[in-house]
Symmetry: C2
Subunit: 347 residues, 2 copies
């Protein structure tokens, strides 16, 4: 391992000078010519900073903590983590990921803190309303796909309303006249927002909202029966599905009745498990959640907060949802926008 000391000796300057140069704090303090020589030898010797050593003095480790309660267990997580990591690496940070599944949440967070984590991401899945662990309250923190009931922390979330709205509009555009929503019984913002969007779209386009076309189910046996009943009772010709599994129920029911998706009926589903668009079916429109973008943007926000500087030149990714044209190649994808909430607590 090459140290500043070695560079100092080789260049014939002091360690402090090297330090100044390596930290780009040499403007007007070190003669440009000397600085250049230092940089040259540093490069030649393959010098890399030792962040642990600097952290001892600066109390900055350039380590971010990614704490998630369920996210790392579920298929949804990948994108968030990847986006967060890409952004982190862009700003010169690394991420330590811990998933705290109930058990010893505080112990895991404490472990992270020991390493002098500069700030935290706290992620949940499907935009639940979330109690932030007490041990995180006084740290730089951004919530991801999660909502803080009191709005005390900044958060990054999918625009759930737009998901429902865009999905339903697409079905309307495709000529569907009886559009069903297969939702979720568990209480969460995702469900509320998507249902509201679905409803708004129907009311706006004149079709009107009909509660008998909505069925909320869980991921289990009775779900298939409920969807089946809806099929026979209401004979919908369009389906907006809360996620992959629920789309699957629709497929099963359709196949069993000799109906073909894409001809007899249309389906738009949210691609939670990433199994819909990638593997199964070219006859379906999927809504892509902005997982990668949320992770990326959350880190941008967090780092800006930590370093107390504006996000100059960094744009929030995919700010608007893009609706594919009706004749788009299958499987068509609707990209969902993300929403950023400011914290209302007084810093």
């Amino acid at each position: 391992m090459v140290t500043m000391k070695q560079i100092a000796q080789r260049t014939g300057v002091s360690v402090s000078t090297v330090s100044l140069v390596m930290n780009h704090r040499d403007e007007g303090r070190v003669k440009p010519e000397v600085a250049a020589r230092v940089r040259a030898t540093a490069k030649a010797m393959g010098y890399v900073v030792n962040p642990m050593a600097s952290s001892l003095r600066t109390n900055r480790t350039h380590i971010l903590g990614f704490v998630s309660e369920e996210v790392a267990t579920t298929p949804y997580a990948g994108g968030i983590i990847r986006g967060a990591q890409d952004a982190a690496s862009r700003f010169g940070y690394v991420m330590i990921t811990v998933s705290v599944d109930g058990q010893d949440e505080d112990a895991e967070i404490a472990a992270l803190k020991r390493y002098g984590t500069d700030g935290f991401l706290y992620a949940k899945m499907s935009n639940c309303i979330t109690r932030v662990p007490a041990s995180l309250e006084r740290e730089p923190l951004v919530l991801v796909d999660a909502t803080d009931p009191d709005n005390r922390f900044p958060s990054v979330e999918p625009n759930e309303f737009r998901i429902g709205y865009d999905a339903t509009c697409r079905l309307v555009d495709a000529g569907c006249e009886r559009i069903a929503y297969i939702g979720c019984t568990e209480p969460m913002l995702a469900q509320d927002g998507r249902l509201a969007g679905y409803r708004a779209a129907l009311e706006e386009t004149g079709a009107g909202y009909d509660p008998s076309l909505v069925v909320d189910v869980l991921d289990n046996g009775p779900a298939l029966r409920a969807v089946s009943a809806l099929f026979d009772r209401a004979r919908p010709d369009g389906f907006f599905c809360f996620n992959d599994a629920r789309a699957w129920y629709v497929y099963e029911c359709a196949a069993r009745r000799g109906l073909t998706v894409g001809r007899d009926l249309s389906v738009v589903g949210v691609d939670n498990h990433r199994v819909l668009a990638e593997t199964l079916d070219p006859r379906l429109t999927t809504v892509e959640l902005p997982h990668y973008e949320m992770g990326y943007w959350a880190v941008c926000r967090l780092v800006a907060g930590i370093e107390d500087r504006p996000l100059d030149g960094i744009d929030m990714p995919r700010t608007t949802a893009a609706m594919p044209p009706l004749d788009a190649p299958s499987p068509a994808r609707i990209h969902c926008a993300l929403i950023e909430k400011e914290s209302v607590r007084t810093a």
Copy 2:
């Protein structure tokens, strides 16, 4: 932040004594009575070690690097990461996760190294044959769900043969007589091993291996047609499916022909996307890959190597595959065992 210095002052001893006690190196060197007092004040003051500071002298950070090429992007990853993290935290380590998707693999690894990572996990998905990045070759390293062509590194993998063998046996036990395999065209150990297991089971049980019952497909449109053709051509009454998506094709084909899974035909699928057993279908047997266990065990191996001590008292998780009885409640699950390969390189 509480430091050793503060504890030393409060207890009326020197920092070195505190250091000895906190590192459990006080046996016979520090008077038990003094040691007890040190421990007491340490606890009272809420002391926690600063790993960064110690690493400066010891060159041990207790940080593990988790490098994955695709794994963090896919739904399969969660379990591996969670298992690895649990084991890490058990041994007092934390994990920094990076996913290197093609691009700047070496840059990401270099970033990890800067932090003085003690060792690495290198994970891929679906047991591909893998070239290990050069920058990892000289580090403590364990491969996860990946195979090194030259066996130069220890690895932890699912027992692919057993997956195919157990799945097929279960179908035989259930009374199936024409058992199909819906495999994968991409070359990987998972495919080879599972097919071999399928074949062995059929030959052993007397049914015999019939190549016309095997169809290898990709996750896309033609796959459904291929499975459909198999349905009509060979009329199988049992299906072993490489993964969720492929099971889905079988469901679609069955539904369209008025056949019911669990009555007219039986399906055993590998639950890659974790969407099969959890969401869709109680009429199916799923094979669970030992993701969590692989992550856990890989870290056990890695830490043992790093600290150069035996894995005393730590058992490899789920060493044998468990076959659920025929009348097991649905959805039944087959747990797959994992395999450990030693490295053949001379350390």
